[in-house]
């Protein structure tokens, strides 16, 4: 290629890049654009933000939040966001950082006003003490990141979101505060209902696949006595399966809780050996079609658990 043709090609490329500077039509200019890294955070943002926000999310409720693919299509969501709410505690460490780096949106970079980690507001359990190594599996050094499964944490996160939305859009602060108060009131009422439903089963022993449920178990009085994964993120081995079977028999455990993204083959074989049952519990909003908001997540899970415990009696 001659020099002139090369220059032409360079001009075309530069032109294409500069064309990107042309304003992109905004879909809803008056609304704050909020992106949740998970559907739970998006649901809480929607509760507080009401019709003054436009909410989108990246990870779906039935997807393992540790292993979301950082697809370029998510950059299209992030590039216009005013606020990105992430779980934090390294839950999204495998996929969110490259998306933030690549999106070309200064508003949501780490440390910018539009970047909010929900973990800072929540009660965090299972913070490792002592030496932390990968011999412990895919352990989260800052604590268990599945904290949104305690309604009290949901409330705390909502309060944090209210503060952030008010900071970003001070003109609507009163509206967000009122939305939060309404959400808090409804959640407190729902918590009473859920507590009544779970009261007969407080102290029940369960086995779970992954360490997704410590906050849920604490909130509703379940006793998690074992895990199908020998270590977080490590697939079950035959020897560990035998250990779990023995433990379930010894402790008379009849319920195995499994997240929707794990294979049911091993849990079901354990259930057959122990006379227990497998319950596919949803860890997130959107995990199943009826779970369209934060309240329905607990309605759904508690309904399943109550039926499972009743059947086990």
């Amino acid at each position: 290629m001659s020099r002139s043709r090369f220059v032409k090609a360079a001009i075309i490329l530069l032109g294409a890049l500069l064309a990107g500077l042309l304003p992109v039509p905004a879909t809803a200019a008056s609304k704050l654009r909020v992106v949740g890294s998970t559907q739970d955070l998006a649901a809480l943002a929607q509760e507080v933000g009401g019709d003054r926000v436009e909410v989108e999310f990246i990870g779906r409720g039935y997807q393992d939040p540790h292993f979301v693919e950082p697809k370029p299509s998510f950059l299209l969501i992030l590039r216009h966001a005013d606020l990105l709410i992430s779980v934090g505690l390294q839950l999204e460490i495998g996929w969110l950082p490259p998306l933030i780096t690549q999106c070309g949106n200064p508003r949501i970079q780490v440390g910018a006003p539009g970047n909010l980690e929900a973990g800072q507001f929540a009660e965090i359990l299972e913070i490792p003490t002592g030496v932390v190594t990968r011999a412990m599996g895919d352990v989260h050094p800052l604590g268990n990141p599945h904290f949104w499964l305690d309604p009290e944490n949901g409330l705390r996160i909502a309060k944090g979101i209210e503060g952030k939305l008010s900071e970003l859009r001070s003109a609507d602060a009163a509206y967000f505060a009122q939305r939060y108060e309404d959400f808090a009131k409804r959640l407190k009422e729902a918590e009473k209902r859920w507590d009544v439903q779970m009261k007969p089963f407080r102290g029940r022993k369960v086995v779970t696949y992954h360490r997704s449920w410590p906050n849920f178990a604490k909130s509703f009085g379940l006793d998690v006595v074992g895990y199908i994964e020998p270590r977080p993120g490590i697939p079950p081995t035959p020897s560990h399966v035998v250990e779990i079977i023995n433990q379930m028999r010894r402790d008379k455990v009849k319920v195995i809780l499994v997240e929707p993204y794990f294979d049911l083959k091993t849990p079901q074989s354990i259930a057959r050996e122990t006379g227990g049952q497998v319950v596919v519990l949803m860890p997130s909003v959107g995990g199943d079609k009826p779970i369209t908001d934060y309240f329905k997540l607990f309605d759904y899970d508690i309904g399943l658990l109550v039926r499972a415990f009743q059947a086990a009696q």
Binding site: L22, P98, G160
Partner: protein
């Protein structure tokens, strides 16, 4: 008790010995006044200590309030830290300057890549065992406007900087810029680090046309921007300018600069679309141009097309997935006598059988940039086992028919392991 001890000590210190009566009287008054003042100070201090202790106990017991003020439970850089001399009940820490000093350190990782090979390959022979690479990564946010990534490759024959660049993440207009040494955005496989490849070695087309294992990896600047496109279509343009030295210098140099103006350029246009929640299609067009090793007037140009189809069911993403990737590269290399036009491609498919096992296959065919009439062909089958996310064991059978140089049959093994926090790679 501490109060009385303190008072006694003060008394002992203040009582004078062998003074006159008047002087004694006056001194006594002074002492009493001092004592009173000290008593008051001690009382005030005691009250302060008690109130601080009560506050600390309260903070320990009380759960974070759902309403009112939000207090971070995890520090994340927001927890108050006592400055030296500002009190705090904890004992001083000697020798370690522990967490505080480490908080701002970059994420550090090391990835070991050990290879073993048996069989026959006279054209590109490799040893029975080799520490192919130990990649050390240092990654951190530099300041509110940029982040830095450094990857140093330690091998048995030396050390090289594979990549070291800063990324400007807060530029206006949606631009993302990089400055430093980096793998160029030419196609797909050129951007991937050795340890992240789905096969043990790079495809033949990379070996023959795109600068060998090092590929286009040079120092320069890069600008990327998402371009306007119809809804649902991701379109991204990248323009890069490099010094002009790329490729494996000893075996297959691609670009060589002898003067400042011998810069090389790379352009990449990427289109991506989700077909369904679980499937997507990736299409890329690449162009690279630079001076080749024959000297100033001789230019090498590369044109590339890459396509990738992915299937990954969201509910079972860790168990099953499928990837089908093709890259086509056209090389135009100016030489003394003529222009060598060579073409190469690879076609790669990979299927994840379950959480631990992956099978894959690759077909290779590529002309040689210097002798375009010579074409090498080959195929590979690959089996990978993942004990965990942080280690993999791979076996690969590779057959290659080198033009005019005979056949090669090899069985290769790879052991990969990750230490520390290695940041996620771009998709």
């Amino acid at each position: 008790m501490s109060k009385s001890v303190l008072l006694c000590s003060v008394l002992l210190l203040l009582v004078p010995a062998g003074a006159g009566a008047q002087a004694q009287q006056s001194e006594k008054e002074t002492t009493e006044a001092r004592l009173k003042a000290l008593e008051e100070q001690v009382r005030a201090l005691q009250t302060l200590v008690e109130s601080l202790r009560a506050a600390a106990e309260e903070a320990k017991v009380a759960p974070p309030p759902p309403g009112a003020t939000i207090a971070p439970l995890i520090s994340g850089g927001t927890a108050p830290v006592n400055a030296p001399g500002e009190g705090g009940a904890s004992l001083p820490v000697y020798g370690g300057a522990p967490m505080g000093a480490k908080l701002l350190n970059p994420d550090i990782s090391a990835i070991g890549d050990v290879l073993g090979s048996v069989g026959k390959n006279k054209v590109r022979p490799v040893p029975l065992f080799e520490l192919h690479e130990m990649e050390v990564g240092l990654q951190a946010i530099i300041d509110p406007y940029a982040r830095g990534d450094v990857f140093i490759s330690f091998g048995e024959t030396g050390v090289s900087v594979e990549e070291a660049y800063m990324t400007f993440t807060s530029l206006p207009g949606g631009f993302v810029a990089r400055a430093g040494k980096m793998r160029a955005a030419f196609g797909q496989v050129n951007t991937i680090h050795n340890h992240a490849l789905p096969t043990i070695e790079r495809p033949l087309v990379t070996e023959n046309l795109v600068g060998g294992e090092d590929g286009i990896d040079d120092t320069g600047i890069s600008v990327t921007r998402i371009l306007p496109a119809p809804k649902g279509l991701f379109l991204e343009g990248t323009g890069q300018v490099f010094r002009g030295d790329s490729g494996d210098v000893s075996t297959s140099p691609l670009f060589t600069s002898s003067r400042r103006r011998d810069a090389s350029v790379v352009g990449h246009l990427r289109a991506f679309r989700d077909l369904t929640d679980s499937t997507n299609l990736d299409l890329g067009f690449s162009y690279a141009r630079g001076h080749n090793d024959l000297g100033d007037p001789f230019i090498t140009q590369l044109f590339g097309i890459d396509t990738t189809y992915r299937w990954r069911p969201l509910r079972r993403a860790i168990y099953n997935s499928f990837l089908f990737r093709n890259e086509f590269v056209w090389s135009h290399r100016e030489q003394v006598a003529n222009l060598q036009r060579a073409f190469g491609l690879y076609s790669f498919a990979e299927y994840r059988l379950n959480r631990r096992w992956t099978v894959a296959g690759r077909f290779d065919r590529s002309g040689r940039s210097r002798f375009s009439s010579l074409t090498d062909t080959g195929f590979s089958t690959i089996l990978t086992y993942w004990p965990s996310e942080f280690a993999q064991i791979r076996g690969q059978y590779r057959y290659t028919r080198y033009a005019q140089q005979g056949d090669a049959n090899e069985l290769r093994f790879q052991f990969l392991y990750v230490l520390g926090a290695h940041g996620a790679h771009p998709f």
